[in-house]
């Protein structure tokens, strides 16, 4: 299972990349494998203010619908148009082209609650 070291993670299997006050969010390799073939991604509106741990997006796969929770609070500044057109990017490249949305962070202390790659790996059972 691919768990890049430079990202932070949540117990609900999202990853977040923090650059300044901008957080990019997606789902982990483990999550995409659990979801199976993604066929639709419902993303939040740009400008929407999100609270940490809120369900903010939905991924529909062949077999199930799954909520995506935002790892940090903030305002949506960009969503990934490519995954709208090609939802399978979430499966093929969960950490790169399959990212979901970007937030301008409003609560810097949110970062402390995120998991490191190592803690996330432990959560998955090594």
């Amino acid at each position: 299972m691919n768990i890049p070291n430079d990202l932070k993670y949540t117990e609900t299997h999202e990853w977040v990349r923090i650059e300044g006050d901008v957080a990019t969010v997606g789902v982990t390799d483990h999550a995409q494998a659990e979801l199976t073939d993604v066929v639709f991604v419902d993303l939040p509106q740009i400008g929407k203010k999100l609270k940490r741990k809120e369900p903010v997006a939905v991924i529909e796969s062949v077999k199930a619908a799954s909520d995506i929770y935002t790892p940090v609070s903030g305002e949506v500044i960009e969503t990934n148009a490519s995954v709208k057109d090609k939802p399978s990017l979430v499966n093929a490249a969960p950490y790169t082209e399959g990212w979901l949305f970007k937030l301008k962070m409003t609560e810097t202390q949110d970062m402390q609650s995120l998991l490191t790659a190592e803690s996330y790996k432990n959560l998955l059972g090594g």
Partner: protein, 358 residues
């Protein structure tokens, strides 16, 4: 939780990249990478499924046919040797204990393939109404494979060097030193065979069929294929809560049987009166509103039904599902609203399944 059971193919499937899930107490592959690719392999070429978890019951004796006809929804006494028939085990109320295929394998011998989750319920039910000494639960001795798709039969025939039986037929076959059963049946909407084989020999056959081009497929594709084809799954469309007629399985009930059978009074009455709810098929073109089990269906503000199974159908290209809806909404092809995460989305209701093989 008790330890999950594994079929003899566990190791081989892990080696092929299987992702395993719990299904009816068994650790079974949900997919070998992509459900959509597996689904397409079955619709376009050939896919192979491990169905070793399913149950096998053998019934014997001069009265076997008569006893079976008491608990089974259809006739079996008129079956030729080597012929089979799909039907239901019914309760006195006309609800469903299981759906199964019964084959006649000899003059006084019948072979049934039943759902994994229902083996013990079936055995208890048959014992209760027909006694114990005339049938045997052989589920632990057999494994099974489903080879499905437009080229599946050709693939099987070239491998086994034997002609496959006719639709719903079964034949015993000696393949080298292995004695197995081949049935022309499946659960995908495509032609194919189900190969019932002694557990110690299943791995070799699985590997041989993979090497001849059959794609390994998991329960994910099995579900999307059967939902498109409109096949019911026990615990979803079929249960002891719904009668056979409500489940849309009235076609698999033979009301012309001479002797009284379990459920005959209840179902004959319901047939005459008409059902108040019934199974329908549905599609949703809105990809953000794929039908899922448990979603509620509305006509204006009134809840008139619920979804029993739902997937994204890779061949149909939209959300597809089945639902139980109240009268009169099952008698016309119309639109209803489905509640999805707090909002409503329109779905189309059909009286027939959405996919039929060409």
């Amino acid at each position: 939780m008790s330890k999950l059971l594994r079929t003899p193919l566990y190791e081989s499937q892990i080696a092929s990249g299987a992702k395993m899930v719990d299904f009816a107490g068994w650790e079974m592959p949900v997919s070998f990478g992509s459900i959509i690719d597996e689904h397409r392999a079955v619709r376009e070429k050939a896919g192979i499924f491990d169905i070793s978890h399913m149950g096998e019951l053998v019934f014997r004796g001069p009265n076997a046919a008569e006893k079976l006809e008491k608990v089974f929804s259809r006739r079996v006494s008129d079956l030729d040797i080597g012929a089979g028939r799909y039907g239901l085990l019914l309760t006195e109320q006309g609800t469903v204990v299981d759906d199964l295929i019964i084959y006649r394998t000899d003059v006084e011998e019948f072979f049934a393939v039943v759902n994994a989750s229902r083996i013990s319920a079936d055995v208890a039910h048959i014992q209760r109404y027909c006694g114990t000494d005339w049938f045997e639960n052989q589920s632990n001795s057999w494994s099974a494979l489903a080879l499905q798709g437009p080229v599946a039969v050709k693939l099987w025939e070239s491998y086994s060097q034997n002609a496959a039986p006719a639709r719903f037929g079964i034949a015993s076959l000696a393949l080298g030193k292995v004695n197995l059963l081949v049935a022309r049946t499946g659960y995908t909407g495509e032609d194919g065979v189900e190969i019932i084989v002694p557990s110690q020999d299943v791995v070799d056959i699985w590997k041989a069929l993979l090497s001849r081009g059959a794609a390994p497929c998991g329960l994910g594709a099995r579900d999307s294929l059967r939902v498109e084809a409109g096949y019911p799954l026990y615990g979803h469309e079929l249960s002891e809560e719904l009668t056979a007629l409500e489940s849309g399985a009235g076609w698999a009930v033979d009301f012309t049987k001479e002797k009284e059978w379990l459920g005959s009074t209840a179902l004959s009455g319901q047939k005459q009166k008409g059902v108040s709810k019934k199974l329908v098929y549905l599609t949703s073109t809105d990809k953000s509103a794929i039908p899922r089990e448990g979603y509620k269906l509305f006509n204006a503000d009134e809840q008139v039904g619920y979804v029993t199974s739902g997937v994204f159908g890779p061949t149909v290209g939209s959300g597809v599902g089945m639902a139980i809806v109240n009268s009169p909404y099952f008698s016309t092809e119309s639109q209803l609203d489905m509640e999805v995460r707090g909002r409503r989305s329109s779905v189309s209701i059909f009286k027939k399944p959405l996919y039929k093989a060409k």
